[in-house]
Symmetry: C2
């Protein structure tokens, strides 16, 4: 299904940017005239003008009076994408929690330039309409909701989530869904369903540190699979570990792996599912960034492609509208998984706050969430583009950076000699926060990498922070 | 510290009820005159009259015109308390989740007489003032709180909780406290801190099934200790399992064990702590019912008596004001425990909803919570007394029932031949819900016991439900 959220002028801007980044339009060359581009792309001249203004604003094009648009000198992004990762193929216990706890103290410090934690900024989310639904629910529904929800969570909220899942072609029933405390609880419950302590889980490499933390406290080991920043995991590596019978389950991202930004194609997802079905290994998928896609179509989650019913889906509203509401969910198709999910939900947290769930259901059913998503997708896409360009301007030669087609994080690979843990301490002194790379691996890999968040949109403070960080990285690289 | 919440007339009512139940004042005998009792107890005649009216209302006394007050025929409770439990002293894996899930489907069914789940009724809690604080917070603090809290949870809420803990003489710092999703998450995190899967935890017998569920999903085994409905666990049994080195930690209630209602005296708690310190075994205490005491003084939690710092305290506001807010907390004193608690909190649920926490802090700091507690303590005490009398009137000879000095649950031991699981199905057909006894044990014990909740206050529907249940039990006992 085509998503009309992607406006024509943005498509044209993406098209021109592609020509620039590929070298087809070299720096200093003349861009197609507005008249030409409007004819070629079958758009109005005013839409073409809107696209060119966006590109001027992003520093890709420069307008010269009486002469037209030219490619800016620094317009092309010279940075390569990171190469495929090469983790060891052995099972490893996870021990990242203590380090993460130290880093976490900086996660909510408002004095720091927020390039670290993948939190969307509350100002940017502008969730006041949702808050008004909560205020109304608190005034009018308090007594009815001052109790425990049914174990699965508010029925209307589950209905709204199931309704939205129709868009990716998967008929989820409200009975397939369990509301959780964010995606974190969903993943932790899912892991507790499919694995026992001591078991091994196959994951992407690098992988989101929060998943590693969940794996750690549940006493699980991991095998990290080679993962490409564009196409995702290496299928033959997955096949090898499945053949060895060494993994109990897989935990993959559905879309825009955090931190790499990669999404497997549907064809590749089907191959993964076929492999997993052959070896009867269940899949847990983390789709938390799925709704933040920059292209015309939302990536399809595994569960929508899985005919075998052995996928547990996890997501939340924390990245798109309401990190403060802590509403996530998991979905699964087999009765055994559903029963186990409920048993664990009851044991871990019993129930979520019914008023928040009711208010969220009110908000979703009132409409407007899709408009909200369209708006923030544009903001994140724009910020990602600008941040890549700022990195290109300021980081040392040899730096590689991802070019995600969704989400709002970037993964940087600095020259091998760099230690981003050292850079982290230097950056803190300059009031800048990012996440060093080694917490994205159970094997202590990625010590020369780092993750930057684009969750706060683009402004002078963010830009200054990125440029300063690049300067610090250059100084460190020169030593 | 003396708590002034217990009014003089209630003390007098309790005094007279004690004389009746002990047989000092037999049925049909004349109660002390108002003048006598006011002189003896040093109260005004009007206070004495208030006490006697309460006793009339409860069916303990009858007023005869021109003649004074007499003990009602059915006033004395003939029911004995259950004898001390005698569980096997071996470690047992726990497997109650699947059965609980079946029972749980009835937990929120409004068509059933709610004698089952220990939920306080929302009408009785009347938490409208709290909801108004939430509505205000949602209107005025939405943007600032649409993010993740610091890992420990809202600072002001932790300050309010620490301030309240001063009353039991324990100087808890806000830094000792981690906000959780109810007491359930607190206990689950605490167990995950002190034990590995396969380890054994010593618990009371019977013990709350929710604790058993947490133990089960964490892969822990239990040793059930003999527990007396008045004085709590058998110290010598605890000593034996500690000597054998067979337990990794203990999980005891601080006050009003669910379902027995027993509370260990401070002297006994100190002995428990001394024993645990000698064997370096940590204690997790569940104090969820601590604020619902009927006597003049709140029971003292273990952590307030523990000089060794090896106690993890767990509680919540779910039984006293806001089951729907899902706000619980854990407190501990050592840095190692605090770090581990945070690591696990982050891994399990990351963060609670900041707006709910902020609203709750606003509510607590505005005062009025203590008045609320005084009111609901009286309601629960009254309901417990009336329900015991209704049980006395209707259940089969040989039934034993607890006489809790706090909380709002009763534990009934029926004649040994009874199967309360069978009675449960019969009761459902009559629209009555209770909890069968065998889910309070990992060893399948207590099949002839059941738990009744007094959380909905007393009314004709509840009374009819209890009497009908007694009738069904009599019919079953007669077979």
């Amino acid at each position: 299904m085509r998503d009309h959220s992607h406006f024509r002028y943005e498509e044209v801007a993406t098209f021109i940017t592609g020509l620039v980044d590929s070298g087809t339009l070299p720096p200093g060359s003349r861009a197609p005239s507005l008249r030409d581009i409007s004819r070629q792309r079958q758009i109005s001249v005013s839409t073409a003008l809107q696209a060119y203004r966006l590109l001027e604003d992003r520093g890709v094009l420069e307008a010269r009076p009486q002469s037209g648009h030219y490619v800016a000198k620094r317009a092309a992004i010279r940075l390569e994408a990171p190469a495929i990762s090469k983790p060891p193929s052995k099972a490893t216990p996870v021990a990242v929690s203590a380090m993460l706890l130290k880093l976490q103290q900086y996660s909510t410090d408002p004095r720091l330039v927020p390039l670290g934690w993948a939190f969307p900024s509350a100002e940017l989310l502008a969730a006041g309409r949702l808050d008004r639904f909560l205020a109304r629910a608190a005034r009018t529904k308090g007594v009815g909701h001052n109790t425990y929800t049914v174990p699965k969570g508010d029925l209307r909220l589950r209905q709204e989530i199931a309704r939205r899942a129709l868009r990716w072609g998967q008929a989820l029933s409200p009975e397939d869904i369990v509301i959780t405390c964010g995606c974190t609880e969903a993943v932790t419950l899912a892991l507790n369903i499919v694995a026992q302590p001591g078991d091994t889980i196959a994951i992407e490499s690098p992988t989101y540190f929060g998943l590693l933390r969940s794996l750690e406290v549940l006493g699980l080991k991991v095998i990290e699979l080679p993962t490409d920043a564009r196409s995702g995991i290496d299928l033959s590596a997955l096949k090898r570990v499945l053949e060895r019978g060494s993994v109990k389950a897989c935990l993959f991202s559905s879309s825009f792996n955090n931190p790499l930004g990669c999404t497997m194609s549907n064809a590749k997802k089907l191959k993964v599912l076929t492999l997993l079905a052959r070896y009867r290994v269940p899949l847990i998928e983390d789709d938390i960034f799925g709704d933040i896609y920059f292209g015309p179509q939302r990536p399809t989650p595994f569960i929508a492609l899985d005919r075998g019913g052995n996928t547990i889906y996890c997501s939340s509203f924390s990245k798109t509208i309401a990190p403060g509401y802590r509403i996530g969910w998991m979905a699964m198709k087999t009765e055994m998984q559903k029963q186990r999910a409920l048993e664990r939900k009851l044991a871990f947290t019993l129930s979520g706050p019914p008023l928040l769930q009711a208010a969220f259901a009110d908000f979703l059913s009132s409409g407007g969430y899709d408009n909200h998503l369209r708006r923030i997708r544009r903001v994140f896409e724009d910020t990602v583009d600008r941040m890549i360009r700022a990195i290109d301007r300021s980081f040392p030669t040899g730096t590689k950076v991802t070019r995600p087609a969704g989400s709002f994080v970037l993964w940087l690979e600095l020259p091998k000699s760099m230690r981003t843990r050292v850079l982290f301490d230097q950056a803190l002194e300059h009031g800048i926060c990012f996440v060093p790379g080694d917490v994205f691996s159970a094997n202590g890999r990625f010590g020369h990498c780092l993750r930057l968040s684009c969750g706060h949109g683009w402004d002078a403070r963010i830009e200054k922070g990125v440029l300063k960080l690049g300067e610090l990285a250059c100084a460190a690289a020169a030593r």
